[in-house]
């Protein structure tokens, strides 16, 4: 007889493993996110004419906009795959806690986002000679911001795939609700790039953590209502 906690973690990990294995074989999601990210950065390059003095000020904003856009692409796809091939019904039939499905999807979505970031950040650093992004604080903010963004995004993508206007709807639902996490991330990571005092960065950092905790908890609580038939 197993206790509930290990089986919950096992179920979560099984979903993560399934997503990662599927992605490893098809690579459709990651390649789409990566190419899209590079295109967004390319467009920013021309739209903002990223001269040296400008790009030092807007680097955090450009990076976060890129990640947010690429993120919706991945979130949409990852949930649409479940829906289209009827995987979601199978998952729901499985005798596991529904929130294990949420955490499984959220963790694999986060993994995709972090992989994309791990490739885009060095590329950005090389392209724009911006090696200040390789500091622990900056990468930590990227991680915290991605966690919050993915937590809300996973929940909302589970909702948007069940609507008529599915692909169009996710960014419309996600962006206004994710404004705090994007703003706090830009503020904190921008401050780090500019070499600001730690006290100055502390407030957005705290708000970022508050957002992450609240929205992971809420998504965990309401996910049941989103997937029930």
């Amino acid at each position: 007889m197993k206790t509930a906690a290990p089986s919950f973690i096992k179920a979560t990990m099984a979903i993560v493993q399934k997503d990662l294995a599927a992605e490893l074989r098809s690579r459709e999601l990651l390649s789409a996110m990566l190419v899209f990210s590079m295109l967004v950065i390319l467009i920013f390059n021309f739209a903002l004419e990223l001269e040296i003095d400008v790009r030092q000020k807007v680097a955090a904003g450009v990076l976060w906009t890129t990640f947010a856009f690429a993120g919706t692409l991945g979130l949409n796809r990852s949930m649409a795959v479940e829906k289209d091939r009827g995987c979601m019904d199978g998952l729901l039939l499985a005798p596991v806690d529904r929130s294990a499905i949420f955490f499984g999807k959220a963790i694999s979505n986060l993994a995709f986002m972090l992989i994309v970031e791990a490739i885009v950040l060095p590329l950005y650093a090389v392209l724009y000679n911006e090696f200040r992004i390789f500091q622990l604080g900056f990468l930590g903010v990227i991680l915290l911001g991605s966690i919050g963004y993915i937590a809300v995004g996973t929940l909302l993508s589970a909702m948007s795939v069940q609507t008529r206007t599915r692909d169009v709807l996710l960014p419309i639902l996600l962006f206004p609700v994710a404004v705090p996490v994007l703003l706090a991330s830009v503020k904190a990571s921008g401050g780090m790039l500019a070499g600001a005092e730690f006290a100055e960065i502390l407030t957005p950092l705290n708000l970022l953590i508050v957002y992450d905790v609240i929205f992971i908890a809420i998504a965990f609580m309401v996910f049941d209502f989103v997937v029930e038939e």
Partner: protein
């Protein structure tokens, strides 16, 4: 078909009367503000509409929770009514604020915390209606609407806190803060509190109408189902 309740008829008349009195108080009775002049008179309605707008949004998050707990459609009707009426009032608030901002700040719009939060909140609730439009099943529509109203109600205050990290130029009337304070004379206070009262009455009246409309809609839907069977 049920007839309009007497109380609602009385409330309709009362709404018109209090709106007329409030208009008189704001435009004639209240003294002209020394620094800003007549344009300050817009402020009474600006606060009045903002107040009911906020009440409606808090109400929407509350009824969202109530619906998820009880699964009673009456909470859904209340929620839709609250969001719909508040979205309109909040839009009026923003427009009135812009009218005031043009002479006072010399710009129609500025990315101040309150203005930005207002804009983001308005977008959240427009997204709320787009989400509901894409779902045919009334029960699922109610569930998703409730989840999104809760997310929106939580995200808006965090947005406000995050943007507050940047400086504000919005005057602070109620509560404490380091911003510029608006001094109110006693006659202004009468007009101010009466506007709050008037818009509360109007809000209740419109809510009532919208809830009645909601239950009529539901009846029509049921009758249509019966005919088609």
């Amino acid at each position: 078909m049920q007839t309009k309740p007497l109380m609602l008829k009385i409330l309709d008349v009362a709404s018109i009367i209090v709106l007329a009195i409030s208009t008189y108080l704001a435009l004639v009775f209240a003294p002209t503000e020394a620094v800003m002049g007549d344009v300050q008179r817009v402020f009474y309605f600006h606060i009045g509409t903002a107040w009911v707008g906020l009440v409606g949004f808090v109400l929407a998050a509350g009824t969202g929770i109530a619906y998820l707990v009880t699964k009673d459609m009456k909470w859904d009707r209340l929620e839709v009514a609250a969001v719909e009426v508040s979205t309109i009032f909040f839009f009026i608030t923003i427009v009135l604020g812009s009218i005031w901002a043009r002479p006072a700040w010399n710009t129609w719009w500025t990315w101040d915390p309150r203005l930005t939060t207002a804009a983001v909140t308005e977008l959240i609730y427009i997204a709320f209606f787009m989400l509901r439009q894409g779902i045919e099943d009334p029960e699922r529509r109610a569930r998703f609407g409730a989840v999104y109203a809760i997310l929106g109600g939580l995200s808006a205050p965090i947005t406000f806190m995050v943007i507050r990290l940047f400086r504000t130029i919005h005057p602070i009337v109620v509560g404490s803060g380091e911003g510029e304070k608006l001094p109110l004379t006693s006659d202004m206070r009468v007009a101010f509190f009466f506007a709050l009262f008037a818009f509360t009455v109007i809000f209740v009246d419109l809510m009532w109408h919208r809830i009645r409309l909601g239950s009529l809609e539901e009846k029509v839907e049921q009758l249509k189902l019966k005919v088609s069977m």
